[in-house]
């Protein structure tokens, strides 16, 4: 595989990953949002395997496989279980509606391009062109986290943010060392499990998973 092909393919796949970020905003039902995250994880796994193939790194290939298992299979399952338990609360309720949220994410993408294009230009790797896209993913992950009222979608925002960071590291340096990446995956997995328990607790205590309720004092 030549450098040019890799560069183009990485650009395209990073773009698809960013597109899935936008899809999460458009989707109103939590199941659809979990699926958007699931697909994004698969795209990132494909990307890391592609780069592994190009650079001949076995470790990176392992990271790709772990990504499929942890973020493609296990975490979506955990989230779907949480969603199924929520019953009628399955619709995400953002602070901002779809259209303004999309506009803000578009602006964030422009900001990402503005900030990151010089950094990408100074990076000699063939994958560097897509760095602004990865950074846009990070920013949008942040935005999803603050925009959503319900705890489950905040978890999704956190996961998308984490995916963005992973992509960023992958593009800028062909990924961080294997052991670090595994540690991060484990952290994320545990974080999601803990957050799931939190969601249940919040629901039991307040009959709602609206985190706005947490600000109110109870007797």
């Amino acid at each position: 595989m030549s450098e040019e092909v890799l560069s183009k393919a990485v650009n395209l796949l990073s773009f698809v990953a960013l597109g899935l970020n936008f899809l999460l905003i458009v989707r109103t039902r939590l199941e659809g949002q979990v699926r958007a995250f699931e697909w994004q994880s698969y795209v990132l796994a494909l990307l890391s395997m592609l780069i592994a193939l190009y650079s001949g790194s076995v470790e990176l290939f392992g990271v790709g496989v772990a990504l499929v298992v942890v973020k493609g299979v296990v975490i979506p399952r955990v989230l779907n279980r949480a969603v199924a338990n929520l019953g009628l609360l399955r619709v995400a309720v953002p602070y901002l509606g779809t259209a303004p949220a999309l506009i803000i994410c578009g602006l964030l993408t422009i900001v990402a391009f503005y900030v990151m294009t010089p950094i990408a230009a100074s990076n000699p790797l063939p994958t560097a062109d897509a760095i602004p896209l990865a950074f846009a993913g990070v920013l949008i992950g942040f935005f999803i986290m603050v925009n959503r009222r319900r705890a489950v979608t905040q978890i999704l925002g956190f996961l998308m943010l984490e995916n963005g960071i992973f992509l960023f590291a992958l593009l800028a340096t062909y990924g961080v060392p294997f052991i670090v990446e595994m540690g991060v995956f484990l952290d994320v997995l545990v974080a999601v499990l803990i957050m799931e328990v939190f969601v249940y607790r919040i629901k039991d205590n307040f009959d709602s998973i609206d985190v706005g309720e947490l600000e109110k004092l109870k007797e």
Binding site: E4, V5, K8, N11, L12, F15, V16, F113, D129, L133
Partner: protein, 314 residues
């Protein structure tokens, strides 16, 4: 000269006689996916034959437009068949038209069909016409802009030129703009041809039909021609989708072997698209009419993004 005439004829015949088969294949695939047996894939030919032999009934209140429209619609589709690179990039009339001419040819047919729908003065015809025109007005710009997304990267708006360029440099297609343009074009291809989720070609349910309401007054050979033209439009749209976005197999010269390969490649690609449409139509429910503009506005945005990304992402 002789070969050019032969190619012209071949291209016309492929579009004319391939389109009922395409419609038949889509119906069959849909039936199978929905657990029905379905009619054979050659059923549309029999339908057209039946309609051609039937008596013609024309309302006394109609003007010449009503009788003229079926011929005009069929003619515009045949003309388009000469411009679209169906088998070869050396299309006989390729020099006289690019995507803009093609779009106006399609639109001319839609315009006259809408007039004919109003002509008989029936409530259904008018309703169908108004809906069809509303959707066409939203969908046509997307088609052109999606193709412009490709044209920008290929450096030409001629359909033949785009295919030649992409066939020579396949790497140009590994691009976000290509993907976005494809998504936008696929959605408008569904909308333009009255497929789900915009219009349901299989029902005559009064509240939901769009295209079928417009042509409700037609009968006999006029109906045969209008339906045949609708089939050809679908065929041409899917050909554009498969040849512009996946230019493999399109003949770059007029050698018989290349043309034969092109025919096989086209058949394979169309078969895949037919399967995709059957899948979409089985999985998706028809949109409420007032939500159709949202879908089309979405596809328009995607097409616009396809153009914008050509400047951003190399």
């Amino acid at each position: 000269m002789v070969t050019e005439i032969a190619i012209t004829l071949a291209q016309l015949l492929v579009v004319m006689f391939g389109s009922p088969l395409l419609v038949g294949v889509i119906r069959k695939a849909k039936a199978r996916l929905q657990g029905r047996r379905g009619a054979g894939i050659f059923q549309p030919y029999a339908d057209i034959r039946k309609l051609l032999l039937k008596e013609l009934v024309i309302s006394e209140n109609t003007s010449w437009i009503f009788r003229f429209t079926p011929y005009l619609v069929a003619t515009t589709m045949l003309l388009s068949a000469l411009i679209v690179p169906v088998l070869t990039t050396r299309t006989p009339l390729g020099f006289m038209g690019n995507i803009i001419v093609l779009m106006y040819l399609f639109l001319l047919g839609t315009f006259f069909l809408a007039l004919a729908g109003l002509d008989a003065g029936s409530a259904f015809g008018g309703m169908g016409s108004s809906r069809e025109v509303a959707i066409a007005a939203l969908a046509e710009p997307t088609v052109v802009i999606a193709i412009f997304g490709l044209a920008l990267r290929a450096g030409t708006t001629s359909l033949d030129g785009i295919i030649t360029r992409f066939a020579a440099e396949p790497l140009l297609m590994l691009n976000a703009g290509h993907l976005l343009a494809f998504i936008a074009f696929f959605i408008v291809a569904l909308a333009e041809n009255g497929r789900l989720p915009v219009d349901n070609p299989a029902t005559h349910l009064e509240l939901t039909m769009i295209h079928e309401a417009m042509i409700l007054e037609y009968s006999g050979r006029n109906l045969a021609m209008v339906e045949w033209a609708a089939g050809m439009k679908l065929f041409l749209f899917l050909t554009l989708l498969s040849n512009l976005f996946f230019p493999w197999g399109v003949a770059l010269n007029n050698a018989p072997a290349a043309l034969f390969t092109a025919l096989l490649a086209l058949a394979t690609k169309l078969l895949l698209f037919a399967a995709a449409i059957a899948l979409v139509e089985t999985a998706v429910a028809k949109l409420r009419l007032f939500r159709v503009p949202e879908l089309l506005a979405g596809s328009f945005t995607v097409a616009l993004l396809a153009v914008v990304t050509s400047f951003f992402i190399k």
